[in-house]
C-alpha cells in the first residue's frame, strides 16, 4: 500500500502553468466510443481555448458531446485523436498515477448527481481533497470550515449526505470542488437535479465564489438559467463546435 496513492505530496512542484497559456487548449480532439461492434463518435475534431478566470459554458443538447468534452478536460478520459492541454500540461504525457495527482491538485469536479462519499459527513467530504494532497491538519480544518461557511452549511457540517437535501448536497459538492483552490472547476449539469429555485441559488453561489476566488469554471449545461451567467459560451452539436461567443456577463 503506497501512502502516496492517497496523499499527493503537498510540496510537489505544480505541473500547471499560469497565463499566458489558456486554462484549456484542445486541438483537433476526437473521441469515439465502441459499443459492441459499433463505433460511436462523441467528438469529431474539436479545437478550442478556454481562458483562465472565466465562467465558461459548454452548451448543447443531450448527446451532443458536452460531458465527453468535460471528461477530457478533467483528465478522466483520453481522446481517440488530438491533443489536450490543461493548465499548460499536455495530458497525454502523464501516466495514470500522475494524472490522478494532477487532478488532485488542479481540478475540481461538481457532478450532476453530487457524487458525495456517502459514509463521510459534509465536513469530511469537503476535507477529502485536502487530505489527498497532504494538507496539514490545521490548514485543512481552517479551509474546510471557511468553505462550509461560504456555502452556508456550517450548521450541517456533521451530517451525512443522506441527511441533506439536494441543494445542500450540491453546495457540499461545490465546497469540495473549491476547497483546494484548484486551477479549474468542472461542473457537469450542476443544476439538472435541482428545482429551479435551488438551481438559481446554486448558480448565484458559484458565481459569487468565482468572483471572489477567480477560479476558472467550465460548465456543461443546457440550462438557460445557467447559460445566462456565462462569460464564454461554446456551443456543441453532434460532437462538433458550432459556435464560440462571449456570454452576457462577459467584460
Amino acid at each position: 500500500m503506497n501512502p502516496s496513492d492517497f496523499a499527493v505530496a503537498a510540496a510537489a512542484p505544480a505541473e500547471a502553468a499560469e497565463p499566458p497559456t489558456p486554462a484549456v487548449r484542445l486541438r483537433d480532439v476526437a473521441k469515439t466510443y465502441r459499443t459492441g461492434q459499433v463505433d460511436v463518435p462523441a467528438l469529431r475534431g474539436i479545437s478550442l481555448d478556454i481562458p483562465y478566470h472565466r465562467f465558461s459554458m459548454v452548451v448543447g443538447a443531450s448527446g451532443s458531446g458536452k460531458s465527453t468534452l468535460l471528461n477530457l478536460i478533467g483528465c478522466i478520459d483520453a481522446p481517440t485523436r488530438g491533443t489536450v492541454e490543461v493548465c499548460g500540461q499536455a495530458v497525454a504525457d502523464l501516466d495514470d498515477d500522475r494524472l490522478a495527482d494532477f487532478r488532485a491538485r488542479n481540478i475540481g469536479f461538481i457532478f450532476q448527481t453530487f457524487s458525495l462519499v456517502p459514509v463521510l459527513s459534509a465536513y469530511e467530504n469537503v476535507e477529502y481533497p485536502l487530505a489527498l494532497v497532504g494538507t496539514p491538519q490545521a490548514e485543512r480544518r481552517r479551509r474546510t470550515e471557511e468553505l462550509l461557511e461560504a456555502v452556508g452549511l456550517s450548521p450541517l457540517a456533521r451530517r451525512r449526505p443522506n441527511e441533506l437535501s439536494g441543494g445542500q448536497r450540491q453546495r457540499v459538492a461545490i465546497a469540495r470542488a473549491l476547497v483546494k483552490a484548484p486551477q479549474i472547476v468542472l461542473a457537469d449539469e450542476p443544476t439538472a437535479n435541482l428545482d429551479s429555485e435551488t438551481g438559481a441559488a446554486i448558480i448565484e453561489l458559484m458565481h459569487r465564489v468565482q468572483a471572489r476566488s477567480r477560479t476558472t469554471f467550465v460548465f456543461a449545461t443546457h440550462d438557460p438559467q445557467l447559460m445566462s451567467q456565462a462569460d464564454e459560451i461554446f456551443a456543441i452539436r453532434d460532437g462538433t463546435l458550432v459556435e464560440h461567443r462571449p456570454g452576457r456577463s462577459a467584460p
Binding site: 500500500m1 503506497n2 501512502p3 502516496s4 496513492d5 492517497f6 499527493v8 471528461n71 478533467g74 478522466i76 478520459d77 495514470d96 498515477d97 490522478a100 495527482d101 494532477f102 487532478r103 488532485a104 491538485r105 469536479f109 457532478f111 448527481t113 457524487s115 458525495l116 462519499v117 456517502p118 459514509v119 463521510l120 469530511e124 477529502y128 481533497p129 487530505a131 489527498l132 494532497v133 469540495r176
Partner: protein, 468 residues
C-alpha cells in the same frame, strides 16, 4: 491513512448485515481453528507428558542397542555406568537443566506363578529401575496437564524384591484375585471345559522350587512370581519377584507383558554374579526445549571420553507419539484449510458486492485524485478489517468455550494412556495458536479482497461515474 481507515471502517458498518454475516463466517472459522488447535495442543502436551514421565527426555545407550539390542539387552550393557552418570550429573551445562538421571535395565524372560496351587507362566518384558527416580520422573508436568502421579509406595529403593506388573500380565498369571484388581476376571479352572492357562515348563518349575526353597522364603503375603532369564553368559537364572501391584499400561501388548522391578533385581537376573551393567541411562530435563542442547552436550562428553554410547530422545523411543502428532497435525491443517476456503469465499462475495454497489463512488474518488493503488488499498483494508474483527470475535468465542469446557470437569482417556485424565482445550495458554490463527484469517480475508479490489482499481473513471 487515517482517511483510508475511517472510510473503510464506515463502509463496513454501512452494510452492517452483510458485514455481520461475513464477519460471522470469519469468527466461526477462527473459533473452530483455535478450539481444535487448543484440543490438539492439549493432546500433544498430554502425550509428551506421558512419554517423558515414562522414558525421560533422553536415553543413553551403548551404540547399536537402539537398532539391535531389544532382543538381547544383556549384550548391550553399559560398563561402569555410575562413572557415566557422574560425568553427566557433574557437567556444568547439563546439571542445571536436569531433573533426573537414572540407570535402567531392560530384560526379557519368563514369569511364572506357582503360589497357591496356581501354575501359570508367561514371557515378559521387564525394566529394572530405581523406584525413587521413577517417582520423580512421574511428577514431571511442564505442560500443566494435571497428569502428575503421586509417589508409588508399592516400590521402594530399600526393598529390591518388589515389583509391579501390567494388569494384562496379572490376569494371565492368575493374580487378579490376590492383587484385588477390579474388573479383572480370574483365570479359568482346569477341566471346566474352557481355555486353560498355559502350563509352565517342567524345568522352570524345578528352578522355581529351587529358588523358593528355604533361604528364598516369601517376605510378605503379596503374591510372588518366579522370573526366569538367561544371563549374559547364557546360563539360566531365576529370581523371585514380590508383586506389589498391577498397573494398566495403555497398550495391550505391553500390558500383557510388563514387569517393573528394582534395578538390582533386574541386574541379578541378567548378570548373575558377573559385573552389573545397565542398558540405558535415562535423563529427564526441566524443559523439553532443552533436549537439543543437552543431546549435543552429551555427544560431546562421550566423544571427549571415548565412550561408545549413543543418545536417543523420547521421540525416537516412542514412534506412536510421533505418529499421533503427525496425524493430528495433518487434521488441524486440513480443518484450517477448509475454514480458510470458507472465509475466502465469504469475503470475496462480500467485497465483490461492495465494489458493484460503490462503482459510482469509486469513479468519484478517482476523479478527485485517488490513484488506482488507493482504490485497491481501500478495498483490501476493508477485507482486512472484516477479517481482523471476525477473527478477534472468534478468538473471544474460543477463549470462552475453552474456559467453559475446562471448568466442566470432563475427563477422557487419551491415546496411549490407561487412566482418565482431565479434558482440556488449551487456548488461553497458546498465544501463538491464537495469534497465528488471527493473522492467517486476516491475511486470508485480505487476499480474498484482492481480486475485487483489483477489479475496482481497474475501473475506467468515466464508466464508473456513469454507473447507476
Amino acid at each position: 491513512m487515517n482517511l483510508l481507515l475511517k472510510t473503510a471502517a464506515r463502509n463496513i458498518l454501512r452494510n452492517a448485515r452483510r458485514s455481520l454475516m461475513t464477519g460471522s463466517a470469519v469468527a466461526a472459522g477462527a473459533a473452530a481453528m483455535m478450539l481444535f488447535g487448543g484440543f490438539v495442543s492439549y493432546i500433544f502436551a498430554g502425550l509428551e507428558t506421558i512419554n517423558v514421565q515414562r522414558v525421560g527426555h533422553l536415553s543413553v545407550f551403548r551404540s547399536g542397542y537402539f537398532l539391535f539390542g531389544s532382543g538381547n539387552p544383556a549384550a548391550y550393557g553399559i560398563d561402569d555406568y555410575q562413572h557415566v552418570i557422574d560425568l553427566i550429573s557433574n557437567d556444568a551445562t547439563i546439571r542445571p537443566l536436569l531433573t533426573v538421571v537414572t540407570p535402567t535395565q531392560s530384560l526379557v524372560g519368563i514369569a511364572g506363578n506357582f503360589s497357591g496351587g496356581a501354575e501359570a507362566s508367561k514371557t515378559f518384558l521387564g525394566v529394572g529401575l530405581i523406584p525413587s527416580a521413577r517417582d520423580r520422573m512421574r511428577m514431571w508436568d511442564e505442560r500443566h496437564t494435571g497428569q502428575v502421579h503421586r509417589a508409588d509406595n508399592r516400590l521402594s529403593d530399600s526393598d529390591e524384591s518388589r515389583g509391579i506388573v501390567g494388569v494384562g500380565l496379572a490376569r494371565i498369571l492368575g493374580l487378579c484375585g490376590p492383587l484385588h484388581i477390579p474388573h479383572c476376571p480370574a483365570a479359568p479352572v482346569e477341566g471346566a471345559g474352557k481355555a486353560q492357562a498355559p502350563k509352565p515348563r517342567e524345568d522352570l518349575v524345578d528352578l522355581a522350587k529351587l529358588e523358593s526353597a528355604p533361604g528364598g522364603a516369601k517376605k510378605d503375603e503379596a503374591p510372588q512370581l518366579e522370573l526366569l532369564g538367561a544371563t549374559v553368559g547364557g546360563a539360566p537364572n531365576v529370581v523371585s519377584l514380590t508383586v506389589a501391584g498391577a498397573e494398566p499400561q495403555g497398550v495391550r501388548e505391553l500390558d500383557d507383558n510388563y514387569i517393573a522391578m528394582h534395578l538390582a533385581l533386574a541386574q541379578q537376573l541378567v548378570y548373575g554374579r558377573g559385573e552389573h551393567k545397565v542398558t540405558a541411562i535415562v535423563l529427564q530435563l526441566h524443559r523439553s526445549e532443552d533436549v537439543p542442547l543437552v543431546r549435543a552436550r552429551l555427544q560431546q562428553i562421550f566423544a571427549d571420553h571415548h565412550l561408545d554410547l549413543e543418545v536417543r530422545d523420547f521421540r525416537d523411543l516412542s514412534p506412536f507419539y510421533v505418529q499421533v502428532v503427525a496425524m493430528f497435525g495433518t487434521i488441524f491443517i486440513f480443518i484450517s484449510a477448509v475454514m480458510g476456503v470458507i472465509v475466502l469465499f465469504a469475503v470475496v462475495n462480500t467485497m465483490t458486492m461492495n465494489v458493484m454497489e460503490r462503482t459510482n463512488e469509486i469513479g468519484t474518488i478517482r476523479a478527485l485524485g485517488v490513484r488506482r493503488g488507493g482504490v485497491r488499498a481501500q478495498f483490501i483494508l476493508e477485507g482486512a478489517l472484516i477479517g481482523a474483527v471476525g477473527a478477534t470475535i472468534g478468538a473471544l468465542i474460543a477463549l470462552a468455550v475453552a474456559a467453559a469446557v475446562n471448568h466442566a470437569g470432563l475427563t477422557w482417556v487419551p491415546p496411549g494412556n490407561s487412566a482418565p485424565t482431565p479434558f482440556h482445550v488449551d487456548v488461553a495458554d497458546r498465544p501463538l495458536l491464537v495469534l497465528g490463527t488471527w493473522l492467517v484469517l486476516t491475511l486470508v480475508a485480505m487476499s480474498a479482497a484482492l481480486l475485487p479490489a483489483n477489479r475496482a482499481a481497474r475501473l475506467s473513471v468515466v464508466d464508473a461515474l456513469r454507473h447507476v
